[in-house]
């Protein structure tokens, strides 16, 4: 009987996502959807001051309110040794303050009540008296002598000094240069604004002595280990579950005070406790991104050849140094700032400062500060082009690392795995019609119309990372996959990562499908439950495909190796005579007598070789030998309204190279989403503070994120330059467009205004800012 071969849907297929049926029918399971019997609700009294002494907390009225069970303060936690907790960067952070608050919106007291309304009532009834202290919100001022000191436990606001590169060599290039450009670049403070705010449900089972936390975390395993080390609860008595996550983008790597208070409240009350941030609370207290003051300088020859790069940065880390970085990288991977360009020497320096603002820094799809690095280099290269009166595309081409120089050792020490920057740019310029656009621009300028074309040819660095350099609090940044093939030929695969929308249930299944020939539908992917999943460091910084995706391939290959032994036994042949064709083994020359992976799976439990263990499963912990280096060229075309200063993005083309692609539909989705976030960064989003430390962008009324109306219709294309060291040549893609796109938008706007003598405008480029420039230059209508 002819049996139709199952549809495999291995790598390269643009299949629909396996996770979607539950999401489109309202059956996702997010933290706030969890409802346990007897569950209490936790809400927070938050500081109205940016810096103040707490002189009195009076909880009497709150405790008298119906439904309120307890009010937890820093003093209560102090008694349990939990008023402070460690951060990911070896600093410590207040869980609840014992006497001093250090930013507005900081948790001051937790109110535990029978339902969320009673908890909110209780919050309103807690009386807190403050004595205000001097405030510092600008990191540059925070590092000046005499600045108010942010931390009660420190005598300085200096957090760290980091530098990379050869300072003297760079100084020399500046002496040899024909032309030097220098620009201050502020990368504003932004908030990633995942649609689901952070939260948790804590449940302490006093009989089993086990704490279960359903929480919005991108890194459940690391959270479990750190929680065990801090609380001394044995690690097997802590279970962290990341259920469906409504977007993370880095903001859900952090451990927030509310999680700890919820756990304490559950232990104390013996009942489950739910804590969910309101949007305003979330915006005012959870991790921000960027807030970097950079000064970039480039030295070049008259012909445009770049000699050296120097970048000095002051970075804001808020009151606690808790960036979600690999621990040895206080400035993240900012040393990728030489970007796509071959230059002799570079030097980068970052000075971190405390301010009276919430902690954070590494969020918003930044690949550990690669956003800042890419923005700096792509902006300063454009400024050099302008100064030399050269076309920015020409200048870039002249300085690209040539395709034949890979693997390429960058001036700041990275070994780029593969790349073909020229090819991506050529494709982008051809597709968008660059030459024609330049002609159009010239004609429009004659008519007084403002049109600009911006280019960004970025290089990303993702896949953290190799164990010799990458760890978080000592935990090496490998990731993992465990695959079990069931007797009837279906499988479950578990991972140490955690999707927050990236589509792992589909793409991981496609990888295994590619390697083992099992249909995608026969593979269940699970992540996020530390009781069942193999240990891993989680999903952020575009690391899942480079690490856990690689682990999936390696675990599959272990299974294939065992399957071969079983096939040899079944076929009564020698292993070396077997041929593997996706999903089956056969003896060379006899493809009609094949044993399928399904046959082999069944035999693994029913008829396996006597000298072989039963079962068909494998686990792999993948230590990447190097980072991967995705890249691309983005082109943005804008028109500026001289009456309003509004910038209209007419076209945006992204040519990305993320190596081999698992699912083109999902890759495109990742790029689209990150382009929109880059758009928000460039044109709309900024969290500002007044001099008293009041946050001025604390909710969706005041902090605008893009809607369908502002965002352009993205155009995408690709080149494919596989990673030579990754098991299936993939590189990662989630953050390429947040890394690459902001400079393209800004370069386009500056290009539109360059003939007026404008060389730089800081983000966000909202209409009033642009209009002020138009007015200053006398071209506003």
């Amino acid at each position: 009987m002819a049996v139709e071969a199952p549809v495999i849907h291995e790598m390269g297929h643009a299949i629909k996502r396996k996770e979607d049926p539950r999401f489109i029918q309202g059956h996702g399971n997010y933290v706030d959807d969890i409802k346990l019997p007897g569950m209490l609700h936790l809400d927070f009294v938050r500081s109205t001051y940016a810096h103040a002494k707490i002189t009195r907390i009076n909880a009497e009225k709150a405790l008298a309110h119906p439904g309120v069970l307890a009010v937890v303060t820093g003093k209560d936690l102090e008694a349990a040794g939990l008023a402070w907790m460690p951060t990911l960067m070896n600093d410590k952070q207040m869980v609840l303050p014992t006497d001093t608050v250090v930013y507005q919106g900081q948790e001051v007291a937790g109110v535990v009540a029978e339902d969320r309304y009673a908890a909110a009532d209780g919050v309103a009834l807690v009386e807190v008296e403050y004595e205000s202290l001097p405030v510092v919100v600008d990191p540059r001022k925070a590092l000046e002598p005499g600045a108010p000191v942010v931390r009660p436990d420190k005598n300085t606001n200096a957090v760290f000094h980091w530098e990379a590169g050869d300072k003297q060599a760079v100084d020399k290039t500046f002496k040899e240069a024909d032309v030097v450009v220098k620009q201050d670049l502020y990368y504003p403070r932004i908030h990633v604004s995942y649609m689901e705010t952070i939260g948790c449900v804590a449940q302490f089972d006093s009989i089993a002595g086990k704490l279960t936390m359903w929480m919005t975390t991108q890194a459940p395993h690391a959270v479990r280990t750190v929680a065990s080390l801090v609380t001394h609860i044995p690690e097997n008595k802590i279970r962290i579950v990341s259920p469906d996550i409504g977007g993370g983008f880095g903001g859900k790597v952090y451990v927030y005070p509310g999680y700890v208070v919820a756990a304490v409240a559950s232990i104390k009350t013996g009942r489950p406790v739910k804590y969910i941030n309101d949007r305003s609370e979330d915006h005012q207290s959870t991790a921000f991104g960027r807030d970097w003051y950079m000064t970039a300088e480039l030295a070049a020859k008259r012909d445009g050849r770049i000699l050296g790069l120097r970048i000095n940065t002051t970075s804001d880390h808020g009151a606690f140094f808790g960036d979600a970085n690999p621990s040895k990288f206080p400035a993240g991977l900012f040393s990728i700032c030489t970007g796509s360009y071959d230059m002799k020497a570079a030097y980068a320096e970052v000075n971190g400062a405390h301010t009276n603002k919430p902690p954070g820094g590494i969020t918003y799809r930044c690949s550990f500060r690669v956003t800042e690095a890419a923005y700096a280099i792509e902006r300063i290269v454009d400024i050099l082009a302008h100064k030399l009166n050269m076309d920015p595309a020409e200048l870039r081409k002249k300085n690209f690392v040539p395709a034949d120089k890979f693997p390429y050792k960058s001036a700041l020490g990275w070994s780029y795995d593969s790349g073909n920057y020229q090819a991506a740019m050529d494709k982008a310029l051809k597709k968008i019609g660059y030459a024609e656009l330049r002609k159009e621009q010239e004609e429009k300028r004659k008519r007084g119309e403002l049109m600009g074309i911006g280019i960004s040819s970025f290089t990303e660095i993702v896949g953290a990372g190799p164990a010799n350099t990458f760890d978080i609090l000592g935990l090496k940044m490998f990731d993992s996959c465990e695959i079990r093939i069931h007797p009837t030929g279906t499988a479950i695969a578990r991972f140490g990562t955690k999707s927050q929308g990236q589509g792992h249930e589909t793409t991981y299944a496609q990888i295994i499908s590619e390697e083992l020939g099992l249909p995608v539908d026969a593979i269940t992917v699970e992540e996020g439950d530390t009781d069942t999943a193999p240990y891993g460091l989680g999903t952020y910084a575009s690391r899942s495909t480079p690490t856990a995706g690689a682990a999936a391939a390696m675990a599959s290959r272990k299974i294939q190796a065992k399957a071969k032994k079983i096939a040899a036994y079944l076929l009564e042949a020698r292993e070396e005579d077997l041929v593997w064709e996706r999903g089956k083994f056969f003896v060379k020359g006899s493809p009609d007598k094949a044993k399928t992976i399904q046959d082999i799976a069944f035999a693994a439990y029913t008829n396996h070789p006597p000298d072989l263990e039963a079962g068909l499963e494998a686990v792999h912990y993948y230590n990447p030998p190097n980072m991967t280096f995705p890249f691309g060229t983005y082109v943005c075309v804008v028109d500026i309204d001289r009456g309003t200063g509004e910038v209209k993005v007419r076209r945006f083309l992204a040519v990305d190279d993320c190596g081999n692609i698992i699912n083109p539909l999902i890759v495109e989705g990742q790029i689209h989403g990150a382009l929109a976030m880059g758009f928000g960064t460039a044109f709309m989003e900024e969290i500002k503070y007044d001099s008293d430390g009041n946050q001025l962008g604390g909710n969706f009324m005041d902090y605008l994120i893009p809607t369908a109306v502002e965002t352009p219709r993205w155009e995408t294309d690709k080149t494919v330059t596989p990673s030579p060291h990754h098991p299936f040549g993939a590189k990662g893609v989630g953050e390429s467009a947040t890394v690459g796109s902001p400079a393209a938008y800004v370069n386009a706007v500056v290009d539109a205004l360059s003939h007026l003598g404008v060389t730089h405008v800081d983000m966000p480029l909202h209409p009033w800012r642009v209009w002020q420039i138009l007015k200053d230059k006398g071209v506003a209508l």
Partner: protein, 167 residues
Amino acid sequence: MNMSRHHISVTVNGNKREADVDSRTLLVHFIRETLGLTGTHIGCDTSNCGACTVILDGKAVKSCTILAVQAEGKEMLTVEGLAKDGKLHPVQEGFWEKHGLQCGFCTPGMLMTSYWLLQKNPNPTEEEIRRGISGNLCRCTGYVKIVEAVQYAAQKMRQPEAPVPAR
């Protein structure tokens, strides 16, 4: 904070549901916590994000901005009521086919707004779709694929073919 209690009766996805609620109970909390329909989400506290969008007496509304008592006697459709007899509604199909969702958190609200948009305007232009969903925020997709999903649904609703099974 003396709260009066009210008995309300609402037809939800075709079924009559009754409950006692506080006068201040938001409709979204009634839907999620009293009715246990957790497909409707809460994404903000300023009525900007639209994750809580449901259809109330034929109109798309943000259920975080309406009191439960205001739904008394009304008919409500939530995301759980879109699929019928194990068959997806065309807007659900469109979002699945066109990769109109990633994390899924905005999706129920987007689906309900899209559903309402297509009731009012069965053949919207791209511009009309973009304006129509502008009260719903999505942080993952960059919107292009949501627009394509709505276009797919519009096409499907005008020329019905065999609906896609829900699994």
